[in-house]
Symmetry: D2
Subunit: 355 residues, 4 copies
């Protein structure tokens, strides 16, 4: 299942160390202005080689193969390709017969009977590049047809948490921050925290928070296509995701109904809720308030420490993974979370048009 | 979108106060023994009218309309109907022009331009009855073809939490408990906690925990059909769900990779992981360890306290909801969570057969 | 696969001799006036017990279980049920271990390992009743939102063919004709033709022709969701269909491009084609001209003559099928063809709204 | 809708004069040996530049971007790209504001508000190249897992028809014939017939016939996924298709049941039918007999003769289409029909595995 979405559909392909990764977007309306610079910028925001992310450097130059004519979308599938240039496959020879702890090596091998072991093959985070392509085009479409604004940021990195309100965030500021966090104080502490982990050869978990503003009322399809069900599926499909919560989220467990209910007020003739504990979605359908959710990401599994690996011959061996590793997923997850949010909203937006 | 699943598909229909709710299961293999007593028991486990749940009493007798012949499934769609008998629609007349706080009233009205206001209409938890039908039949199929065992229980009710290990649970015991919790001490405290809330006319959130044992290696479809992505979608589609986490879940944010990684051991020729922080799924595919996840449910929105309601004419009014209300969703959510888990596993099991 | 359609979806269930057949329509817009009398009439038009169709008499009274509130659709799934009342299952006991020639007995048995042999079970034409329910509601929706008019008639019955132009047809007249043919001369000859066949215990093939008028330009989704591809799939899914052709159809094989091309003219500021050899669809998308296609149906397989049947034990026996049989499918196929056309157009209409 | 199939899914992209056309195959089982030479040969069989097809010459060299590792499929999506090298876009400048008769120019423009007019853009037959890629890989899979053998040939070209039994065909012979017809006498007459048409600047319709042998019993999904319904959809999605018929097909209209029924015989312990008027499919499910169907293709719309074209400004003008044109579609349609047949059978084969 390499396709995401119902009406605005993203199909992705490509392995970490194969010739290329790519995306086919089907169902994008015709006439949307396509801006390759925005696509390049979105890919750059995801690109490794920055502080605290892996040192693999690739230009990630997108090539548009179809679906754009004279600068606009034509309603036909938009295929975009990015070549894999930095393929040091031999780095992974040692892993050919090993199952790394908490990686997908064992499960792919068991499911398919074989696997492309180089850099995780299809299970590599490099696949998320294709999601960013999809999200970028979804964003161009939403930008023309709606006022929707999606912002994502790191709000938790190990022990470091920021209480900086998401409402004050600005995407420019967030991406200017190497921590993808616009609270300068938290950013400094996160940075130091990561530096220590990097030296220790260890890694940490974290949280990416999202706020989608100006989402029209009515997006989301009951019963099984609820907006938060689809968002949950989108987020939990990202490598390393361990949890999803919307609005009050897990903190809801200690809340009373009298605290957690969102009472109504009228503002300039429009009904709004005083609080937004529902996270902008009620009964699975957007209610016009900002959509707010959080995604927990586990610490990257590739660490310097020796750990027991499985082997294809059914034994276990003590092994230390060498090579390029991030002490954190969340920094690079921010644009991916943002892309998946845009894809969900684009899909729901188009689905809603028929009502 | 009233259909769930790809290969084993559940389509549901019905409103709270319409003539009936029902389910159509398409894609169930032929030759599965159909046991109506199991279906009756599964529906009884979900039925309201028990301690701490609403007092609406309905027998919920299922009528099988198709797909079963001489006691076994035939491979054709299985349609099952349950009549709505206790329809005190007039109870809801007062709500015709009101939008209750944190209910789906406003969003349905805005999306569709009208709504069946009686008891929440389609957004009522009564729809979950049809999910239990689907889950029951999924369970019959899995029971014949696999050793999969799914257990769900309340592990958190407001301030009360149980540390009782899920591994020790037994479905019989859980359903014998009015709190759907097999830790007798926690159960007592939950019960008292709920009694207080009921007297106060208030409600509380909670957590349902799930453990699926003996799940074969290889279930789950990368990239967008990952097992936890599909489980997340299934769980977040249940009324009142606010969060989903698998394995370590949100606690992962403070974990280091060296703590959180699941190292491999070999046991009787089979590779297993020492810990199960991944919750039985790696790279979106089951790894043979128990699948463990949790779902947070918000406090029921219907409380006795006066709250600001919206109105269809765009104003707000102070209003108190009368009628039958639960102080907690989680008790009744247990069999629904279990049903959705069975549906996901049945679907993934059948999808995996083609590989 | 018991669901048809992408946006306007029909799911059907039910066996010939089970308790009921039914339909769930998902994706119908909210606010469409639901007229039960139209549904009754549409079901009556399909009903057996009329001249030249089987003598099985059932009222086929529809029961609406969901999706309608205060006379209009609510956007939630519409479930409609029709009970099977006249279940002389014992009529079919003789067929339990037999595979009738050109029936689905053998293939169902082989695919599923078992089958409901009573009256063909799920493969019975009684399933088409559920299609008529879906088509009826699709028609109510299209009637409100478009000027689309779908007409179907028998234009060929064995040796008898009518050249009566479809453009002159009127649904009332067609359904007033026991042959579903508005050419009185052809009707008379068809009637006599069938009478002879009935006496001989034999059956004949035929053709149903369709003309959909006032179809807006732009319906149909390239590449694999072309309007005629979807119509072909819809028609070939009807019991007994043997061929589908659009516009010139198979007669195209002897045509030259210079004869077959539809040249353009301008009429009152609107572009039209002089001829309509394309049958109203170009490149898979409706061009505003009437959509015209034909479906060939084979002679019913149940005939009085003794024929070699297979048996479940792998032998063959000479056997004569007793019971109620039609000498022709096409008469009863007319409302089914019409219903499937309406379903396709409703689906395409809603899909097109997003562009 | 640029995706075909449910379990074995083909997604295609690309315009006639864009940078490339390509295919993404999702759902192909892992471990299938991938033979690039077979893919090259299948593409060569479709390639123009041969006698009686357009003179546009392109090597159509496929580049595999993903899904293959060490010579076998990995279960991940297989992306294959073919560059468009011979892009004489200026040839089409004259057509920018014209709607050619019986082309998709007008309908694309109306549906999307704009179109890539160069060479028909997405509606060009060049898209069928991506289908051949999909069919080629479907064939490799079926070849490993089944004995299925699919053969297609031209059996009708305008007035010329061959009665050569499909059973005697051999794919090698057919593709060795420039007419894709293994009846040498018919081939000679077709060739002369086409030569005359080419000189006259005109075109002709024709028929491609298919015979799929050794298809296992049980492929096809009732009710709406019947094998012939899916085949019909696949065939009618090919550019220029005007009709589809299976088994007896339209000739069924004059047949009596007593003539058309396929009686059973037992052969070496296996049940077979004496005749194969059902074309190998009964009740939508394959019965083990050869699957036999035919597809009618219209005469190519691009002819030398002056014809009335529409214009984007709503007028009509007399115009003669210059450039490279085929007098017949059927020759080039043969490998496309074959590819779509393989795709349908691969999909049905995998779907059937779950039963």
């Amino acid at each position: 299942m390499n396709t995401f979405g119902i009406t605005f559909r993203l199909t992705t392909f490509g392995e970490s160390h194969g010739p290329a990764v790519g995306a086919v977007i089907d169902g994008c309306p015709a006439g949307v202005a396509f801006d390759k610079e925005i696509l390049r910028q979105d890919l750059a925001r995801r690109r490794p080689g920055q502080a605290h992310t892996t040192t693999r450097k690739e230009p990630d130059e997108p090539e548009v193969l179809s679906g754009i004519f004279e600068g606009v979308t034509t309603g036909t599938p938009i295929a975009v390709l990015v070549r894999n240039r930095d393929q040091r496959s031999q780095d992974y020879d040692a892993l050919k017969d090993l199952y790394r702890p908490s990686h997908a090596d064992y499960t792919y091998q068991q499911k398919y009977g074989l696997r492309d072991h180089r850099g995780g093959g299809r299970s590599s985070a490099r696949e998320t590049l294709a999601r960013v392509i999809g999200g970028s085009i979804a964003g161009m479409m939403l930008n023309e047809q709606t006022d929707i604004l999606v912002k994502a940021a790191v709000t938790r990195m190990g022990e470091i948490e920021t209480e900086h309100p998401l409402a004050h965030m600005d995407s420019e500021q967030i991406y200017a921050s190497p921590m993808r966090c616009d609270d300068p104080d938290a950013e400094r502490r996160m940075s130091a925290y990561l530096e220590n982990l990097r030296e220790a050869g260890d890694s940490t978990g974290g949280v990416v928070s999202v706020r989608a503003e100006n989402v029209p009322v009515g997006l989301g399809e009951p019963i099984y296509g609820k907006l938060y069900a689809t968002l949950a599926s989108a987020m939990m499909s990202i490598n390393g995701a361990a949890g999803f919560e919307i609005g009050t989220g897990f903190a809801v467990v200690e809340r009373r109904g009298s605290e957690n209910n969102d009472e109504w007020i009228e503002e300039n003739g429009v009904l709004k809720t005083v609080t937004n504990n529902s996270g902008g979605v009620q009964g699975g359908i957007s209610n016009g308030m900002p959509i707010e959710f959080r995604v927990a990401f586990k610490p990257p599994s590739s660490i310097a420490e020796k750990q027991m690996h499985g082997t294809t011959s059914g034994e276990v061996v003590d092994h230390s993974i060498t090579g390029r590793h991030d002490p954190s997923i969340v920094i690079r997850a921010v644009p991916v979370v943002e892309a998946m949010t845009l894809l969900v909203l684009a899909d729901m937006w188009l689905q809603t048009k028929r009502w």
